[in-house]
Symmetry: D2
Amino acid sequence: MPANSGRVLLAYSGGLDTSCILAWLIEQGYEVYAFMADVGQEEDFDAAEKKALKDLKREFVTELIYPAVQANCIYENVYLLGTSLARPVIARGMIAVAEREGCDYVSHGCTGKGNDQVRFELAFYGLKPDIKVVAPWRIPEFYNRFPGRQALLQYAEQKGIPVVQTAAKPWSTDENLFHISYEAGILEDPNTTPPADMWKLTTAPENAPTEPERISIEFKGGLPIKVSVPEQGKEYTDGVEIFLALNALGRKHGIGRIDIVENRFIGVKSRGCYESPGATILRIAHVDLEGLTLDRNVRALRDQFVTIEFSRILYNGHFFTPEREFITSSIPTSQRTVNGLVRLKLYKGNVVVEGRESSEGLYDEQQSSMDELGGFEPTDTSGFIQIESIRIKKWAQANIRKGQAGVAPQDVYGSRV
Amino acid sequence: MPANSGRVLLAYSGGLDTSCILAWLIEQGYEVYAFMADVGQEEDFDAAEKKALKDLKREFVTELIYPAVQANCIYENVYLLGTSLARPVIARGMIAVAEREGCDYVSHGCTGKGNDQVRFELAFYGLKPDIKVVAPWRIPEFYNRFPGRQALLQYAEQKGIPVVQTAAKPWSTDENLFHISYEAGILEDPNTTPPADMWKLTTAPENAPTEPERISIEFKGGLPIKVSVPEQGKEYTDGVEIFLALNALGRKHGIGRIDIVENRFIGVKSRGCYESPGATILRIAHVDLEGLTLDRNVRALRDQFVTIEFSRILYNGHFFTPEREFITSSIPTSQRTVNGLVRLKLYKGNVVVEGRESSEGLYDEQQSSMDELGGFEPTDTSGFIQIESIRIKKWAQANIRKGQAGVAPQDVYGSRV
Amino acid sequence: MPANSGRVLLAYSGGLDTSCILAWLIEQGYEVYAFMADVGQEEDFDAAEKKALKDLKREFVTELIYPAVQANCIYENVYLLGTSLARPVIARGMIAVAEREGCDYVSHGCTGKGNDQVRFELAFYGLKPDIKVVAPWRIPEFYNRFPGRQALLQYAEQKGIPVVQTAAKPWSTDENLFHISYEAGILEDPNTTPPADMWKLTTAPENAPTEPERISIEFKGGLPIKVSVPEQGKEYTDGVEIFLALNALGRKHGIGRIDIVENRFIGVKSRGCYESPGATILRIAHVDLEGLTLDRNVRALRDQFVTIEFSRILYNGHFFTPEREFITSSIPTSQRTVNGLVRLKLYKGNVVVEGRESSEGLYDEQQSSMDELGGFEPTDTSGFIQIESIRIKKWAQANIRKGQAGVAPQDVYGSRV
Amino acid sequence: MPANSGRVLLAYSGGLDTSCILAWLIEQGYEVYAFMADVGQEEDFDAAEKKALKDLKREFVTELIYPAVQANCIYENVYLLGTSLARPVIARGMIAVAEREGCDYVSHGCTGKGNDQVRFELAFYGLKPDIKVVAPWRIPEFYNRFPGRQALLQYAEQKGIPVVQTAAKPWSTDENLFHISYEAGILEDPNTTPPADMWKLTTAPENAPTEPERISIEFKGGLPIKVSVPEQGKEYTDGVEIFLALNALGRKHGIGRIDIVENRFIGVKSRGCYESPGATILRIAHVDLEGLTLDRNVRALRDQFVTIEFSRILYNGHFFTPEREFITSSIPTSQRTVNGLVRLKLYKGNVVVEGRESSEGLYDEQQSSMDELGGFEPTDTSGFIQIESIRIKKWAQANIRKGQAGVAPQDVYGSRV
């Protein structure tokens, strides 16, 4: 019989892996507490648990998802960061429970090649630097003992663990309120088209309604405060309900599927498919409204620095770090003027902006107009162009003097390889 | 009778504005040469002209469009820069003709509030710093004399200028091989949905075929070298033909419409609608292939610097400048490994990546696999995480010492305004 | 006699230019109010004025200089932005007086080629967008009438303006608490060494004391809160006094002279010489303390974005803009841990850091030590290196396969031109 | 007796550590080859070796140092990267020898907490991804056996290794042509002032000549091509000789000492002192000449991206990576116009620019002049300012409408913490 190894809090999903890890940790002499987070995945929690976990969903939406919406976060131009966004909330929940229950250890079932192990553990350390982590899939005694699914199933049977006998899907998933991810298995060949029945959170565009649906989203300070869905005769104003309503609309109209090869933090390329229905709608609306309401230079600086750096921070699991604190400290100021309403058409995978309005006044119809002068002296532009051209002319004159007029010899226009 | 003011080369479109400008310049004593560029707009050039202008289309595609594709250029997250990309080619053509014909002046019909005047003139000065520019819409004698369309029509009649009596569209357009833009008129209210009959280059998604179509695009060094269209039983390998084939496919399937409020270089917000069918398909394929074939850090640096800066340079008309030369000089190296093939499904406005392949070898199925160890020591990740956490733990310890554990008081998670 | 043109507030320095402008504005029918700012220049204000202007000096130090110190602002690697920093404070003071006195116009004596006209006017517009600006040096009636100093002197005599008959220095200066600038005149040849008697705020290093002097500066939140000067037996704790004490020390030890060719906002290159004695000492101390107390990633992001962008914003006169508001909103968070003390040696132009200390705890002597393990597992680094090398090995393998091992043919190591 | 473990190439310095490692590797059954690089450190190589290693010094200067000079590389605002720059050259030399001699292993004596282990090993893997690395200071059998200097000395005696019995200095050094570094030992307390006798490559400013010395440096394409030293009556034109001559001048005049706390790649803060005499002079001259000869926008982009990213790449040991190849590919274009001469005064730690000249023509004395109009229309600036103010006025108007005129309530000017 093993000695008492200490008290451990395990991030428990109820699946085969974490069920076996739970049993194995007990075998190793740990006193095990299981932690189950409700971050909105479609699962069958019983009523009591639902109540207990309610808050986690709200903080996921308001503290993680919405800042990411405000900053237009996106990783490698495509991925909306659904898994990354849930990790800090789960980790914080775990550390709170670990402290309450006096656990010296936390544990998880993440593999040794993925991003999530890094995200979880860096979050643990950023919140409680003296916490100890047990990561069985990186412990040779564990991973050598369980080289495949069969070994886990056998162990489960032996330990009397009731395993829901679903036929194993040929891929792995991670689901929460924001999205679902699919990876591994048959998806590891990046040239394999995902089978139609893989997608779980959205209708295929081909099967989506043949009639477009119009909705509108109102923002205040870059945050959605009202979603109007005339077809339902409904308006949503609560933060979580807004997100759930957009998810349902996205699902119905086949919005938010992506399929990419991405670069994991550990340097391995990996193929992933994702569905983020509501987040996709929200992003398009928010980006559009910024066109109307955000100053050009603020937008440019925010895009180049905050959007890119915050996205990288989230992807790499650096949420509880000083650089995240630094980067997000400028978000509220950037969103001060992002107030207004965007009208959208949803149709078979498309989110079409049909109009937007705001009382911010940075857009000025008269000034913008090509048909009238609008308090604008055309001759000013002449001065502007002359000043703008000063250094360009100097450079051009030097080129001409050197016989490199127009384009210098080494200037390959970027296209040749 | 006016004195001889000199010889001027006018960028002439054949429309009402530039026809009147032509007459007015003659009135001012200029000897006027007209310059008409074929950058692929759908117009009725006669045969002789077509031949003369052939080269301009090719250089537009190979020298401007393709570097922009390689760098994933995009302005303010949405606009693919179609008008901006054509300007340098037209300006270079004009300067060549101006030099050949001994013109001391160049002229254009751009308004005084837009981007195009800046793009044209900075390009002129970057190529020939001593060229003189006549911009009638910024000359009070001109713009005060022609305060609206009626005045121009009257002048045209008086000068015997044959005006094609199309009913004036309630918006302006600019068209080339890459795209068409719509702005001004009724579009100046950003909340007005563009009428269905405005869109010219693409079918509405609602009217696009109900059957998806599959194609593939092969890239070498980040440039498209072959487009296969099985439904047509055709393959395209010539640079210009590839682009035209993708345009036709995008048109058919309702791909590449956008509607935005953007920030002009002169600081005015402006509403624009654009159709870029082929470019949209190409961008999605290129971005996807980079996932498979481009190193993570090269991609990140390229996205943050080259993509953003080159896009801004293009938008602001800074093509013939030292900074453009500098920024594009790194594109070929960035694209060295972007070789491979992307398979796409086109369907009612959607461009869906269904798979991709490459022999570059940066993606390693075995190494990426969640199901096998694949030449990867899971324990290495433990070391990686420990090292990554060193500075985070120090910060967390300091927070705890100061009573700011977890999240410091002033840390508002970015979302409040 | 001219009609009443309105009430104008003139930024008045008491020198020849603004004295003539004052008279000329009256001639043009304006009712003129003169505004004189005490931003710490070494001038002979009388007692009453000194009292009235006291606050401007304090806000200059605390609201402009110190944020710039916190962000390590520097333009083009060398210039500490002394003139740029004073402009927003002066402009704000002027707008306040203009509003109080009901002036519809503000005026200044800046030339039409410099930065300061832009800085003043953009600040005016950012504070009061409907203010009207009279810039005589850009009004042909004025600049054609006064083509040189002689014309101004004649006009002054004619108008009975008492001109202090200093022999005209062959350069122009702008001075405030932070620095003095020298430009124009003989300095316009960038190869002319400034004469020894030009420098006004600092002793030449050659003439500075032959004995080094030790001081220490204590920072809290990146702001200097105490300067100890043992040689004087004094400690300074007031914000303005700290800056003045450092200025005196820098002056004595020949610290803070620079001589550069810089790029003005309007695109013209310009030669400028500057003395910033106190600011130079403060910058070196602050940068050093950040080494000890600021997290690596926060520092890197702050350097690349905030330092560079805020410096450009200041130089270009964009202080009262949304992008300045955005950029500076992240400074306080970045400086949360910048607490501690730096010990300096001042000697003949050198500022030598001799030591630093902090109780922040991000530096850990034991962990850093090369002589002991210090709670550090050397084997962790092996894992770190293995993970870091994953994508590099993939790239190297591809190079080898392609026969481009080591370094690809097109890779010119950056040095050839 | 151990089995044959394979052939290993050891980076050998001749010091105690690597001498013991050599013996220990033999003990472990390796066949050991020793590799000694001459990168310009002041050591007593015998004649034969000197000749053999000549080329390494030249490639160090021309392939590593000069691109870093062209890009103004600097880490954390202060450190000129001397150690980092030597590593790629040494690693490439080792891999070449390892391949020639059929070594499957390479080994080094770097500690497990430092940067150099990472730099060496990532370079090895980037050149030869299948090389195997033996890092004894990260192997428990080694580091547990040799917990301190005494154990190494005993082992050396036992193995008959002749150890030069220098009194152990209370710090470690790394020296090459570019610089010397000091760290560890008594320097680990960041508040300890380095003793005067530590500094080896430079005279103390206090002891440097009391007379200034003038020199000039001529650059072509950003590279130094001639150094003139009138006091010596000499001119240097060879790349390596130029660098050595500047080193001698810097040494004489007390130039190039720094003392910092820096952030290692592995996340530990570390105190280091460095002397880089020649590099400091060269950097100041190069930065200055760029003021005269480099376009503003190229300089700004290069500073923000190439300088910062290349410096980080060098520091972190990512030289043989795709991102280094990408970043350096733009250096030659950036330096096309950096041609001219800089005159310097060297005096007791100061490098004072006294003038510069160039025939590039980007600086235009007449245009820059404050005293004449110089082909410049002052009224153009009015237009420029009006256009620049458009979006600022819109923002200011919105602020006023909202009662946030001037500065919004949440705008804290950056200074408070």
